[in-house]
Symmetry: C2
Subunit: 342 residues, 2 copies
DNA sequence: ACATCATTTGACAGCGCTGTCAAATTGTTG
DNA sequence: CAACAATTTGACAGCGCTGTCAAATGATGT
C-alpha cells in the first residue's frame, strides 16, 4: 500500500473518475464518455472501464456532474399533503414514470400553506432540478414569478386553469362537483346538502360546482351547507353530518368534499340506524380504495390519480427530451354510482 | 445593457455568487460566508449582501456547494411502497423532522424488490446524501456492503434486528404478532386462523409471532393458515376469509397480516350476516385511520408510525450534528382492543 | 501615539466532473 | 499504398462554490 500523504487536505478520499481512468488506462474524459454515452466508445474500452469501475467500487459524484453539465436528473415534487391517499397514488404514478427514465424525485410537503410552499420552491430551485411538479394552480405571486423565471419545465397537477405557469395536468373540480350533485338530483334526491372540510382551493371549486348545480335547479345554494377548515377525518364526517342534519332534518342527500368524510358518515349511519341510501343518499369524492369496499359502497367521483401522476411526469419527460410540448391535459373524472345512493 | 459576448459558451447565464459579490462590493468568499454563516460577518455587510441577493434574484447552486463542501443536505429515503398508508405516515414524520433542519428528501420506491432496492441505493449514493433511511433489515448482501462502505449515517426503519447496518428504529413484528394472537386467546377465542398477503419479511415475522403463540398453547400452528403473495386489498381480505372458512368452518377468530385485509373481511361479514365479534373475532395490524372508524371498529396492533418517522430522522440529525449516537430504538406497539373482538 | 491582539475580509486553489475541440487512430477508396 | 474521411480518444478549461490561510481592519491597553 502506498502512502497517502500527498493527497490534498480537502480531498474526500473518494474514488474519482481519475482513479478509474488510471486503472483502465484511459483519460478521465474517455471514462466519462464510456459511462454516460457507451455507444460512442469502443466495446473494448467500455469493458475495461466497467471492470475498473467494479474493482474500485466507483460511485460517480452527481454533484460534480450537475455542475459540469447543468443537468441534475432531479425532479422536484411539491404536494400539500403526504398522508392523503390521493397524493400517494399521484406520487406512485410520478415515481413509476420518472425512475425508469433515470430521474430522481425530491419530495416536499407544503402542508397546504402557500408560505411553506414558497420556501420549499426556493429550496428546490437551489437543487437545480430539471423539472418541477407542483400541486394546484394557486401558488403565491412570488412563487409563480420565481418559477416562471427559471424557464424550467413545470407541471401544475390535480386541477386545470386557463393560464398555467407552463404545463397543466388535471381535471375540473368545479365540473366534478357539479356532475355529482346533478347525479344526486337525477337519482331523485331533492334536498341535497354539502359538507366540506379543510376547504382548500380545490374543495372550494367542488363546492362551487355543487352550488351551481343547485342554482340550475332553482334552489337556494347555501342553505344546506356546512364547512370547516379542520382536516378531514372519518370522525369529522360523522360529526358534521349530525350537526347539519340537526339543523335541517329534511335533508335527503349529502355530498361530502371527500371520501373520508363520506365514509365516516356512512359508518355513523350504520351505528345510528339511518338507512343509506333510502333515508339518506351519500356521495363522496376521490374514489379511494375503501369507497367500493365498505357497505353500503360509496357513490363518489372517481379520478385517475395514478394516471394523472404518470401523465404529469410524462409531460416533463417529453419536454426534457424535446419530443413534444403538452400544454394542458384534462384527465377527466367519472361518477362511480354505488350503493350509497339510490 | 452591456454586451454578453465575452461570457463562456458553457456559462449557464445564471446569477452566481460572483455577481452578488460585485454588486455588494465584497469578495465571493465573503458573500458565501454572509449567506452560510451570517454570525461570522458584520451586520452592514450582511445587509448589503442580502440586498444584492434580492435585487439579482440570486439562487445558490447546491451542486457547487455540495462539491466544494462535501455536504449535500440530502437524505435519501427508500420505501417498499408509497401507496401504503403506513409509509405515508412514516414519511410525514421524516419530512416534518428533516425539512425544518434544512435537509431535503430524495424518495424512492423499491416495490418490495431487493433488486430494485439495490439499483436505487446505487442511484442514491451518487447524490452524495448526508444520510439514508431505508425500510427493513433484509437488504441484499450487495446493498448492505455498499451501504456499509459509505460510512454514511444509515437508519434501518420499521423493524428491529440484532446486527443493524448502523442505526435501527422500529419494533418487533414477531412480538407484535405474538401479542395480538395471545390477546385473541385471552378473549376466549380458540381456533385462531392467520391470513396474510404479500408476505414480505415483516409479514412473515408477524406470522411467526402468531405461530409461536399457537405453539405456546400447544396448538398446531399451521392448520388455520392462508397466505398469498398477492398485494393486500379489501376485496382480497374478503376472498381469503371465505376461502379459509370454507375449509375450516370451526375457526372462531382471524388475525390478518394488515388492516386492509381485516377491514375487507369485516365488510364481507356485514354483507353475509356473520356476527363480528360473536361468531368471528377479527384482528388486523397497523391501526390505520379507518380501523377505529368502521363498525364494528377493528381490533388491531397500533404502531407509532409518524413517531417512528420522526425518530428515524432525529437519529440522523443527532449523528450529523455530532450530538449523540443512537444505536437502536424500540418504538414499541400496543394492542388496540376494539369491537371486532369480544 | 504605538504595540498587541481579536475580528473580519479576501486571494487562491480545488471539489469531480463534462463540454469543447484538437490529436490520434481506424477504415475506405482509387 | 498513399490520400482522405470517419471515428475514437485525450488535453484542457471551467461549471459555482467553499475551505484554508494570509492580509486588512478594528479594538484595547499602555
Amino acid at each position: 500500500m502506498s502512502k497517502q500523504n500527498l493527497i490534498s487536505s480537502r480531498s474526500s478520499g473518494r474514488v474519482t473518475i481519475a482513479d478509474v481512468a488510471k486503472k483502465a488506462g484511459a483519460s478521465p474524459s474517455t471514462v466519462s464518455r464510456a459511462l454516460q454515452k457507451p455507444q460512442q466508445v469502443t466495446e473494448k474500452l467500455r469493458i475495461r472501464v466497467n471492470q475498473a469501475v467494479k474493482e474500485l467500487g466507483y460511485i460517480p459524484n452527481q454533484a460534480a456532474r450537475s455542475l459540469a453539465s447543468a443537468e441534475s436528473k432531479i425532479i422536484s415534487v411539491i404536494f400539500p399533503s403526504l398522508s392523503n391517499a390521493v397524493f400517494s397514488s399521484l406520487l406512485d404514478g410520478i415515481h413509476d414514470t420518472l425512475i425508469p427514465a433515470g430521474y430522481k424525485i425530491l419530495l416536499a410537503n407544503s402542508h397546504y400553506s402557500v408560505t411553506e410552499e414558497e420556501a420549499l420552491v426556493e429550496t428546490m430551485l437551489e437543487q437545480n432540478p430539471d423539472g418541477i411538479i407542483i400541486t394546484g394552480v394557486d401558488q403565491s405571486d412570488n412563487t409563480k414569478q420565481r418559477l416562471k423565471n427559471t424557464k424550467l419545465p413545470i407541471v401544475q397537477v390535480m386541477e386545470l386553469c386557463d393560464d398555467p405557469l407552463d404545463m397543466n395536468v388535471g381535471f375540473s373540480h368545479f365540473d366534478a362537483g357539479h356532475a355529482i350533485t346533478e347525479h344526486l338530483f337525477k337519482r331523485g334526491y331533492n334536498k341535497i346538502g354539502f359538507i366540506g372540510a379543510r376547504m382548500d382551493k380545490r374543495s372550494q371549486r367542488r363546492f362551487q360546482g355543487y352550488r351551481y348545480a343547485l342554482l340550475d335547479q332553482g334552489k337556494e345554494p347555501d342553505k344546506y351547507v356546512l364547512t370547516t377548515l379542520a382536516n378531514s377525518s372519518f370522525q369529522l364526517g360523522a360529526d358534521l353530518m349530525n350537526q347539519l342534519i340537526a339543523q335541517h332534518s329534511d335533508i335527503d342527500a349529502l355530498f361530502f368534499s371527500n371520501d373520508d368524510l363520506a365514509a365516516g358518515a356512512i359508518f355513523e349511519c350504520q351505528r345510528s340506524g339511518v338507512q343509506v341510501p333510502r333515508q339518506l343518499g351519500i356521495a363522496g369524492f376521490n374514489d379511494l380504495d375503501f369507497a367500493s369496499a365498505i357497505t353500503p359502497s360509496l357513490t363518489t367521483v372517481s379520478i385517475p390519480r395514478y394516471e394523472m401522476g404518470k401523465q404529469a411526469a410524462q409531460c416533463l419527460l417529453d419536454r426534457l427530451q424535446q419530443r413534444k410540448h403538452h400544454q394542458r391535459i384534462d384527465v377527466g373524472f367519472s361518477i362511480a354510482a354505488r350503493e350509497s345512493t339510490r
